[in-house]
Amino acid sequence: MQHGTRFPSPVSASLDETAARAGVPVIDPPESEPESQRETIAADPVIDITESIEAATRSVALVPRPKPVRLDLEPGESEIRRGDVDAYGRSEHMREIARRIYDPMYRYWFRTVWEGLEHIPTDGGALLVANHAGAIPADAPAIMHGIETELHRPVYGLAENLFRAIPFVGTMWSRLGGVAAHPDNAYRLLKDDRQLVLVFPEGTKGTGKTYRDRYKLHRFGRAGFVEIAMRSGVPVIPIAVVGNEEAMPILFKSRRLAALTNLPYFPVTANMLAFGPLGAGMYFPAKFRIRVLPPVHFGVTADQERYPRAQVMAESDRIRDTIQDALYDMLRTRRSVWFG
């Protein structure tokens, strides 16, 4: 898809379906339609679309975006509601605006390329697990943007609940799909609402690591994400992101300033040195490669009271290792930080 990546089969199927739907008037055209027009439509439908998939940069240019499913609306409710904020505070309308603003960054600054998008299910819950880095991490928006534009599925990003306490930022973050990383929130999203949930098990330890430690995964917390996936009965889909760790690398951390500002870490980034004060919010144009790895199914029954600690830890380590291996594999084939 993006830059010639082969499009996943489930989506191709839905593309064909749309093509077939587009072909309906061809099979049964209105009487008034002239003969010639009928033929031109009949001539191209399926072939043309599949061809242009290869050529097009994005599928959304071809396929009308299906209306996203509203999580908490009941019949009759839509006449009352004035906004589209769902039960988790996400607003598809706000996401749409954010996607439009972020799209140039995603396409021309980071030139994001996906591999293995077919591993992400087009239906049902799944927990996406990725590596995390950068003083202000650029990986979450890139992953969410990519999946939402390609698969037309919302992605909810779990993050530190501290965001909720900050005026404006907290509200914005929540409208754009941020969800406080409470186990029960994740469980509800995955089990009851069957959504995609993105989590970075490294947490602030990942984003707070310095340039020297790039692409070295930190420990995956206390493996809570495995337990949530097991309890909700969904697979974990590991994702390896390359490029992000060079977009805003941390050179030093000031412990004193962190204590003063009450932040988990206070970074001095390479961007700040390069761009001055502007660098606090400006990324280096590193080439983003995002590889989606095959889903990990646990083979345990959902909703168990508890899961053996040893099994949970082992699964967590296994997932961590697959991401780490993928990262090394991708770095081996990468020629340049900037051009991929």
């Binding site: 409710e77 009352i80 904020v85 039960a87 988790y88 609940n161 005026p167 509200t171 409470h182 929130n185």
Partner: protein
């Protein structure tokens, strides 16, 4: 079914008694309160009692009540000073349950009307509280502390009296045609307050669903703790939009101080527990109570819409809340005089 209702003089006590009177299986209703009932009641016997129910023991024995509906827990801290709030919520509940739990007590069912206020509102909260989840920050206000303390008495009572069906219903914020709550007051103002930069998710229950839930628990055996709240959640900005109110921002820091002039000018009293709701919001999981068979009349958005409609009507024709004054002699005459022809019996 012989029922005792506490807080008959409150909004909820009166409305509940009115609904219970219509049920054929209810033989008798006794209502307790320090104040007189607010609504005309047909057959409920009103007993004026002090707020900590010292005569309750005698009433229970004399009337042989089998069901106690404890609606007299104050959840709106702007109604009363802290001291009397503690007296009513904590001491009142303690004495009530002590009387209900004496040896040979005829009480077989206790239903307590509590509030989701017991969960608090904090940034660490889950988006939907389940009944089993504890609050994430210790309570800071008197009303929250008193409700938690009352809850511990209810729990103890349930443990000590396994033969009694104990139901505790935690209601979310209520809106409706007649009830007055901090939120209904805020939304009646020309402009509703908000905290700058925050747009919390809130849940509302319609007043008819509150009495509906209490009646449901009376008629069916549903032991346990249940959240009661309309389906879904709506951000505060949208609540104001549905009701048709502008918003006036309060600063995100020193909010309590900024709200103080409003209280002094008697425009609007925003106690700390309401301010933290306007900051972080709160929603609860209402599915366990639905699974017992209860059907809501209104969702959260539906409740807000119904409230907006009643405000519009009020704007057009003025307040039409029922005015009623309890006259002891008149009520006694209708209930007990041999001159009155009663259809019952």
């Amino acid at each position: 079914m012989r029922i005792l209702v506490t807080g008959l003089g409150t909004f909820w006590g009166s409305h509940l008694a009115q609904q219970l009177e219509a049920l054929p299986e209810v033989e008798m209703i006794v209502g307790l309160d320090t104040q007189e009932p607010r609504l005309p009641l047909e057959r409920t016997e009103f007993v004026k009692a002090d707020s900590n129910y010292s005569i309750l023991d005698r009433i229970v024995r004399a009337t042989q009540v089998d069901t106690i509906l404890h609606t007299h827990l104050i959840v709106d801290s702007t109604e009363l000073p802290g001291r009397s709030l503690h007296e009513i919520n904590v001491i009142g509940t303690m004495n009530l349950l002590a009387a209900a739990g004496t040896a040979g007590s005829p009480v077989r069912k206790v239903i307590v009307k509590s509030s989701t206020l017991t969960y608090g509102a904090n940034f660490k909260d889950p988006y939907f509280f389940r009944e089993s989840m504890p609050r994430t920050r210790p309570p800071r206000t008197r009303v929250e502390r008193s409700l938690l303390e009352a809850a511990s008495f209810v729990r103890d009572f349930a443990i000590d009296n396994p033969h009694v069906t104990v139901t505790k219903l935690r209601f979310s914020n209520v809106l409706g045609d007649d009830v007055t709550t901090p939120f209904s007051k805020a939304l009646r103002l020309p402009a509703a307050p908000e905290i700058l930069g925050f747009d919390p998710r809130l849940q509302f229950t319609h007043e008819s669903d509150v009495t509906g839930a209490l009646v449901f628990a009376t008629r069916n055996d549903v032991p346990g703790i249940f959240n009661v709240a309309g389906d879904g959640s709506v951000p505060w900005s949208e609540v104001c939009a549905i009701v048709g109110r502008r918003r006036v921002p309060l600063p995100p820091v020193f909010t309590q101080w900024a709200a103080e002039p409003l209280r002094i000018a008697r425009i609007l009293d925003l106690p700390p527990e309401v301010l933290s709701l306007l900051r972080y919001g709160r929603a609860v999981d209402n599915s366990p109570f639905k699974r017992t068979g209860f059907r809501y009349g209104y969702s959260t958005a539906g409740t807000i819409n119904a409230f907006a409609r009643s405000l519009r009507l009020e704007g057009a024709v003025g307040s039409n809340s029922p005015s009623y004054r309890y006259e002891r002699d008149v009520e006694t005459f209708f209930r007990h005089s041999p001159a009155v022809v009663r259809e019952r019996d």
